[in-house]
């Protein structure tokens, strides 16, 4: 895998239904599952992700998106609008996808922002398996998308510029300040108003479990995949649990792979 391009699905989604898994594998596009909810998004270096961490009472995705829209509109006159579904759009096309997670100690809202993404790669890999007939997983809501950069007339927009500009705007609006540069990053330091610039996460917050098959595919809610002529397999936690035809019995208990099953028919 490239480690750069990824398709990133929601906590309870079905990656086979959302993504062309075979194509992703061929193109070295990682498939990942978030801890937050929502739909599937495509990440490449032309996309910028923002995460807003707050205590629970302060959790407000609408406020974060309004902040982003105002900042970007004032800078590059983009005509961005937000809506109740926590989308940010230019006309009918979305430029962000949002998701949130709330736990006992706090919450976060994060969103993507398409700046200079490869939209052709995006649309091609986000074509899921149309033969999944029954699924209780949460489904993405398909939507036309667009890059910010193609709507800016006077200002050159790159992910780097967007990051700098949004960061400066955030610091100014919320009156935050930098500590001395020689302070190392420490998870215990939680002084309100201080900002740390982090180049890499400490190992203690890395999530190796989230790179496993068990997390990415094994957390998939139950579904049924049809192979035509009444042939079906039922999959639970990414593993085939039932088949409609005795000729397919040998795949019971194995990780679901539609190519393998197709070849058996």
């Amino acid at each position: 895998s490239s480690g750069i391009n990824a398709e990133y699905g929601g906590r309870f989604q079905n990656p086979w239904r959302e993504v062309n898994v075979d194509e992703a594998r061929e193109k070295g596009i990682d498939i990942a599952r978030r801890v937050s909810g929502g739909g599937t998004v495509y990440h490449d270096l032309g996309n910028v992700n923002f995460s807003f961490f707050t205590d629970k009472p302060s959790h407000c995705p609408a406020k974060n998106l309004t902040f982003l829209a105002d900042t970007l509109n004032q800078w590059a006159d983009l005509g961005l609008k937000t809506n109740k579904r926590h989308d940010m759009s230019i006309g009918e096309a979305k430029v962000t996808g949002s998701a949130s997670r709330i736990i006992r100690t706090g919450s976060f809202h994060h969103c993507t922002l398409l700046v200079t993404s490869s939209l052709s790669s995006l649309s091609s890999v986000l074509q899921g398996d149309p033969h999944i007939t029954t699924s209780i997983a949460t489904a993405s809501v398909p939507s036309p998308v667009t890059n910010l950069a193609s709507h800016s007339r006077d200002v050159i927009l790159t992910p780097g510029h967007v990051i700098s500009h949004v960061t400066s705007s955030y610091l100014a609006r919320y009156d935050v300040h930098f500590p001395e540069p020689e302070l190392p990053w420490k998870p215990e330091q939680d002084t309100a108003g201080d900002v740390m610039v982090v180049d890499a996460l400490p190992e203690s917050v890395d999530e190796p479990d989230h790179k496993t098959w068990d997390w990415v595919f094994g957390r998939t809610p139950k579904f049924t995949r049809s192979f035509g002529g009444g042939l079906e397999v039922q999959v639970d936690k990414g593993v085939v649990v039932e088949v409609s035809d005795r000729g397919l019995e040998e795949v019971i208990g194995t990780p679901f792979d539609q190519t393998t099953i197709q070849q058996m028919l």
Partner: protein, 136 residues
């Protein structure tokens, strides 16, 4: 279709205990039925998915026993008291909105066998929980 444990009666409000993180456990003998409160479902909004625990899984008090996704966010359900999962509400697979419609009754999430009933002393009864909500 699972037969739900008939020792349960949701019409015994005196056996309802509540946590500050808006979960409830309805206790009958050594068994408890668990869910999120009406306050919690209202805050979450329309629920689109409930992640049910495995049968016979054992959890400590405060551990995440379930996860709930609403249109707004994914939130955790912490077990109010330690226990072993004996039943799950399969109806929530097809109809997750049952939690919105009836959070403290038909929208229950799982049933557990309590492993330490003394933990109930740390929970609130309905009057205390209502007072807690007022103060938040």
């Amino acid at each position: 279709i699972r037969q739900f444990n008939t020792a349960f009666s949701a019409t015994r409000p005196l056996s309802m205990y509540y946590t500050k993180s808006h979960e409830w456990v309805n206790v009958s003998g050594g068994l408890g039925r668990v869910g999120i409160t009406d306050h919690a479902q209202a805050a979450l909004g329309d629920i689109v998915y409930v992640d049910l625990p495995d049968l016979d899984a054992e959890f400590d008090v405060g551990e995440e026993v379930s996860s709930v996704e609403s249109v707004k966010a994914v939130g955790d359900v912490a077990l109010p008291v330690s226990g072993i999962v004996k039943a799950v509400n399969d109806a929530l697979s097809d109809t997750p909105t049952l939690v919105n419609q009836s959070a403290e009754d038909g929208g229950w999430i799982c049933e557990i066998e309590l492993t330490d009933t003394s933990e109930l002393d740390d929970l609130m009864d309905k009057a205390a929980y209502d007072a807690f909500l007022e103060s938040e």
